[in-house]
């Protein structure tokens, strides 16, 4: 958006005040994150979008680029309960969900909540846990509740899992099955910082951990309000059709063996709504969908053997699809 910036929309709807609030709060969170994670506005924005769209975020990259730092910073910026689970091969499902223990005093089983019981759960190196543990986590993510020994425990709102993982070719990892990756709304890669950002990092991070100075800039209650605002964002029929056209195209692509699921479409539109709200709009434009599509869709797609053998990644295939799917005829008449 070099020439076309997202200025604050000056519509005269009652929601414009809400949108202003949203913009202000997200701006604060962003500033807060950028104090710690320098030079990664895209990733920061993606995490905010996922937070407001009630999704879960998967951060994937090589070790040491700040995955955990980002999730911790986001969690710290919001005054809410935060848990961090370090996934290891010996982590048990009950460590995640919680376990019922027998209390000698009361002579009854009582539930000890696991790491999942928080507003923001940072799941570090999720692909190092056994598939059994992984699936326990993913179930909670989808259902937003935990069932242990016949009792169901609802999770707090907002609830967001920020999982990090090393790329699967690293040793000692259990790759997340495709079906489970589908539950993450978006996947982002941190990427290496640009040179200037890395130098800035050296000066800020070597004296003391900036995370420790971080004060929460908002709280769970406010975030819930923001989520409500996002839910009110309008999606025109043409934009819906555009989103559907994109996911449909992934299912028909010759390069992909697995396309995007209907859940992916849903995630895409929800993320687009959050993105629009962050930009101060109460309506989604096709650009929102288009720009989020790589982050929302890429991790759900599976390239064909031929495509992966010849080095064509899902990102390339998706890029082609996105440039080929035309805008719907969007002119309104009358």
């Amino acid at each position: 958006m070099s020439s076309v910036s997202d200025g604050v929309h000056t519509g005269n709807r009652a929601e414009s005040a809400d949108l202003d609030t949203l913009a202000r709060v997200t701006g604060r969170i962003r500033e807060s994150i950028e104090k710690v994670i320098e030079g990664k506005p895209d990733v920061t924005r993606a995490s905010l979008v996922v937070l407001l769209a009630e999704g879960h975020l998967l951060i994937e990259d090589v070790p040491g680029v700040g995955k955990t730092m980002l999730s911790k910073t986001l969690a710290r910026s919001i005054d809410c309960s935060v848990r961090r689970i370090q996934f290891t091969p010996d982590l048990l499902p009950s460590d995640v969900t919680g376990v019922s223990v027998f209390n000698q005093d009361t002579r009854a089983f009582e539930f000890r909540p696991g790491g999942i019981f928080a507003n923001i759960v940072v799941g570090d190196e999720i692909n190092r846990a056994s598939p059994k543990t992984q699936s326990a986590l993913l179930e909670c993510m989808e259902e937003r509740q935990v069932t242990v020994d016949g009792s169901t425990y609802h999770l707090d709102q907002p609830f967001m899992v920020i999982a990090t993982q090393n790329p699967i070719e690293m040793e000692g990892t259990y790759a997340l099955p495709e079906a489970q990756r589908d539950r993450f709304m978006a996947r982002v890669s941190m990427g290496y910082p640009v040179e200037a950002a890395e130098i800035a990092m050296l000066s800020s991070h070597t004296r003391r951990n900036p995370l420790e100075d971080l004060e929460p800039v908002t709280d769970a209650v406010e975030i819930r309000k923001l989520i409500d605002i996002v839910n009110d964002v309008y999606v025109a029929e043409t934009v819906q059709r555009y989103a559907v056209a994109i996911t449909t195209a992934t299912r028909r692509s010759a390069e992909l063996v697995l396309g995007a699921s209907p859940r992916a479409t849903l995630h895409l539109v929800r993320a687009a709504k959050a993105s629009a709200a962050i930009d101060g709009r109460d309506y989604v434009i096709p650009d929102d969908v288009l720009n989020l599509a790589p982050q929302v869709l890429a991790h759900r797609l599976l390239p064909t053997v031929e495509a992966s053998m010849s080095g064509r990644t899902t990102d390339v295939a998706l890029g082609q699809i996105l440039s080929a799917v035309p805008m719907p005829e969007s002119r309104r008449r009358g």
């Binding site: 020439s3 519509g11 025109a236 028909r252 309506y283 434009i285 650009d287 035309p326 002119r331 309104r332």
Partner: protein
């Protein structure tokens, strides 16, 4: 739809359209014959035969050439059955060698009838119908072959055009506009059918940029292309039809032709039978220069083409001339017959050039010629002193020759005392057809009653014809010929009578002269030229004229001018001599030379009054200037039309936008059109923002050049013109809001004028960022005009709830 595997519509529709188009075109031939139904009926059968055969054969994928052969065979069978005597053909249907010979004879007779009769051919010339039908059928086969067999509908326009050229070049009034419109409509439909079919194979929609094409993956929707096809087809064809309607035309000829002396494009004039061709050339829709003349003669009027010396009851025509080879038009000529040496004569040199447009087998010359040098084999007749081509295919068009002639000025006395004509002149030139109506001789007697000499009688006749109380000059209302009955109509007083043009005046006076025993004939030529320079004159088609010549011994053949002063203002000097000019209405008056000016007066007055109705009025240099101005205006109109259309589009676009939403869309359309005009490309399939980003990339600075700026090249891009970039941002937001925001009543967008101001800022920046050449092209030939939006050809975007089942299909839904 009995056989679902065959797409009947796609096979049958073009064939039927082709057939209908051909038949509509054939209506243009209606002017050839008096009863057009006689050929249009069979022609309809023929074109239907061709269409049905074509449809059936093509539906089973028969090769085009085979279809052609079968159609021709079927036509031959039908033609044989319809026209050739039954016994000649096998079983009455199958052509045999005998029937082919019969058909050839039949067609030969048709060709003869076409030559023998003047259009419209009367029922007696019915032999022409098989010829017309066969020609029409062959055109139908050709059109069907080109348009449906080879799928080259545009080429099929050529045979159709050929159908039209025949009547346009032969018939007086050309083709009625509706006949042409019908054919044109058919042809357009044909083109449209063809284009829709062809375009579906093109690939991308019109506005897709190259990069998008490269990036494209899956198969592309054919449906969306249909709308492009419609758009292009309808735009192009509509423009083709509408444009000629808006452009001013010259006269009523249908096919506009080139300037004077055009290259055989309908603006040429052919003179083979001078009298017959005369009226046609006089009433033709536009004037054509035919002969240019360089001479010191101050009054080079009355340039003769031919002399008509026999009258057969139907028309005056040149008698058969047997001209020996020594009478070639090269060198000295003998003295003209009957001219005494004592009559004063002035020799004048002429240099004459016949324009290419003038197809003549006669050489226009003054009378009498004393010496001539003309290239080619041209011979003269010693009686008439006209020059005729001695070789079959020799044509005067483009010929240049020089000659010397003399102007004689016989005095009235010479004519008055002229002796009796020699037998060799008297007998042939006083011959009258037996069936000549008595009206002619009775009137001649009546008008010249009581006059003594033949000269006085001749002058009396001339005065009688020229008297505005007696006759009225009108090119259109009188009879169209000079046959017996035409002349009776012309000479008899009545609602239709006493009106005519030079042909009737000249023919009548010559016949009346003959009935009075004065040797007479009719000369055809040019009346009065337009002066185009020092000693340079031009005669045009509207100057064509006919006048009588009468023989007086001693003076030879002298011309008279019975045509009224509205057309021919001057009468020969010797006819206003010092003798009585008895006027039947006025009675005898005192004789004397002083009488002459008064006698002349009515004619002089007519000149002034008649100027307005004279077909040659406005001719001369004024006429040429007018033509130049008209052509100039036409060219200017053509050149300016695209940008005018573009401006109109822009105005209408803004005027039509009343709501904020419409303003935003209008602004976006305007930006798109400007981008297309400047050949920046436009991609409707990317998002508004992405398109805007591309657009901002070509923005140039609009302000004056800063002193520190490098002279060579100004940078382009959003940074080059931040003001326009911000304006574009605002427009983009408007468009997005218009398209994607909640459709709420309370939401009010920006004012239309604000949007317009922003859009104009952007278009200025786009122009500033474009190369000079592109800017020029954009102004003079805006490419955006060829899109269909101008004509609102896109169907209203009433979409069904259908969801895309294929990538990209929604564009076409």
């Amino acid at each position: 739809m009995t056989r679902p595997q065959v797409d009947w519509a796609s096979v049958a529709v073009p064939s039927l359209v082709a057939a209908a188009t051909t038949w509509f075109s054939l209506i243009a031939w209606a002017g050839f014959v008096q009863d057009p139904g006689e050929y249009l009926g069979p022609a309809l059968t023929a074109v239907l035969l061709v269409a049905v055969a074509g449809t059936l054969l093509r539906s089973v994928r028969t090769p085009a050439l085979v279809v052609l052969v079968v159609q021709l065979f079927l036509l031959a069978v039908w033609f044989t059955h319809r026209w050739v005597p039954e016994e000649a053909a096998f079983g009455g249907w199958i052509p045999t060698s005998g029937s082919v010979a019969d058909a050839a004879v039949l067609l030969g007779e048709g060709a003869l009838a076409a030559q023998a009769y003047q259009a419209p051919v009367p029922p007696e010339g019915a032999q022409i119908f098989p010829l017309l039908v066969l020609s029409g059928s062959l055109v139908a086969v050709l059109v069907d072959f080109l348009a449906c067999g080879l799928r080259k509908a545009p080429v099929a326009g050529l045979p159709l055009l050929a159908v039209y050229t025949a009547p346009v070049s032969i018939l007086d009034g050309g083709v009625p506009w509706w006949a042409f419109a019908l054919g044109a409509l058919g042809f357009l439909t044909l083109l449209l059918t063809e284009q829709a079919r062809t375009l579906a194979h093109w690939g991308r929609a019109v506005s897709r940029s190259a990069s998008a094409v490269d990036a494209g993956t899956g198969p592309l929707p054919g449906l969306s292309l249909r709308s492009s096809a419609r758009r292009i087809g309808l735009t192009a064809t509509s423009l083709a039809v509408v444009a000629p309607l808006v452009i001013p035309t010259l006269g009523d000829s249908l096919l506009p032709s080139g300037g004077p002396g055009g290259e055989g494009d309908g603006s040429s004039v052919a003179i083979s039978n001078p009298m017959v061709d005369l009226r046609r050339d006089l009433v033709r829709g536009r004037d054509v220069d035919l002969v240019t003349l360089a001479t010191p003669d101050p009054d080079p009027s009355y340039l003769r083409i031919s002399v008509l010396d026999t009258f057969n009851g139907l028309t005056w025509k040149p008698s058969g001339r047997d001209i020996p080879a020594e009478q070639i038009a090269s060198g000295e000529l003998p003295d003209p017959p009957g001219l005494d040496a004592e009559v004063p004569r002035t020799e004048v040199d002429y240099r004459i050039a016949i324009e290419d447009a003038f197809d003549t087998t006669w050489l226009p010359t003054p009378y009498p010629v004393t010496s001539i040098e003309a290239p080619g084999d041209w011979r003269y007749d010693t009686d008439t002193f006209d020059f005729i081509s001695a070789v079959e295919d020799q044509n005067g068009a483009g010929l240049e020759y020089s000659l010397t002639a003399f102007r004689t000025d016989p005095s009235a006395e010479v004519l008055q005392r002229g002796g009796a004509a020699p037998e060799s002149v008297f007998t042939p030139y006083t011959e009258l057809p037996e069936d000549l109506p008595d009206t002619v001789s009775d009137l001649a007697e009546e008008v010249t009653d009581g006059l003594g000499s033949k000269y006085e009688k001749a002058v009396a006749l001339q005065s009688w014809f020229r008297n505005p109380d007696n006759f009225e000059y009108d090119l259109n209302q009188g009879p169209s010929g000079s046959a017996n009955e035409d002349l009776v109509t012309f000479l008899t007083p009545g609602p239709e009578g006493r009106i005519g043009y030079c042909e009737q005046f000249a023919a009548s006076m010559a016949l009346m002269g003959r009935s009075l025993g004065i040797p007479s004939r009719v000369a055809v030529g040019f009346l009065e030229p337009d002066r185009i320079g020092d000693n340079r004159y031009v005669f045009s088609a509207w100057d064509l004229h006919a006048w009588p010549e009468m023989y007086f011994d001693g003076a030879g053949w002298v011309r008279f001018e019975p045509t009224p002063g509205t057309r021919a203002p001057e009468v020969p000097a010797y006819t206003i001599g010092n003798i009585d000019e008895p006027e039947p209405t006025e009675g005898p008056s005192a004789s004397g030379p002083t009488q002459a000016p008064e006698q002349q007066d009515p004619n002089r007055l007519d000149e002034g009054e008649g100027g307005a109705t004279d077909p040659t009025a406005g001719g001369g240099t004024g006429g040429t200037l007018g033509r130049v101005v008209l052509v100039g205006l036409l060219l200017a109109g053509l050149v300016l039309a695209p940008q005018l259309l573009r401006t109109v589009t822009r105005r209408r676009r803004w005027a039509g936008a009343t709501t904020a939403r419409e303003s935003a869309e209008a602004g976006w359309d305007e930006l798109r059109d400007t981008a297309l005009d400047l050949r920046f490309g436009w991609d409707d399939t990317v998002t508004v923002r992405n398109q805007a980003r591309t657009l901002a990339g070509v923005f140039g600075a609009t302000g004056p050049r800063r002193p520190d700026e490098p002279v060579r090249r100004r940078s382009v891009g959003a940074s080059a013109n931040p003001e326009a970039a911000h304006a574009l941002e605002r427009v983009v937001r408007d468009v997005e809001q218009a398209r994607y925001s909640r459709d709420l009543v309370g939401r009010v967008g920006r004012d239309g004028d604000e949007v317009r101001a922003d859009v104009e800022r952007c278009t200025e920046a786009m122009y500033a960022g474009a190369l000079k050449k592109r800017r020029r092209t954009a102004r003079w030939l805006p490419a955006s005009l060829v899109r269909g939006d101008l004509l609102r050809l896109r169907p209203p975007a009433r979409r069904t709830g259908h969801v895309a089942t294929e990538p990209g299909v929604d564009r076409a839904l």
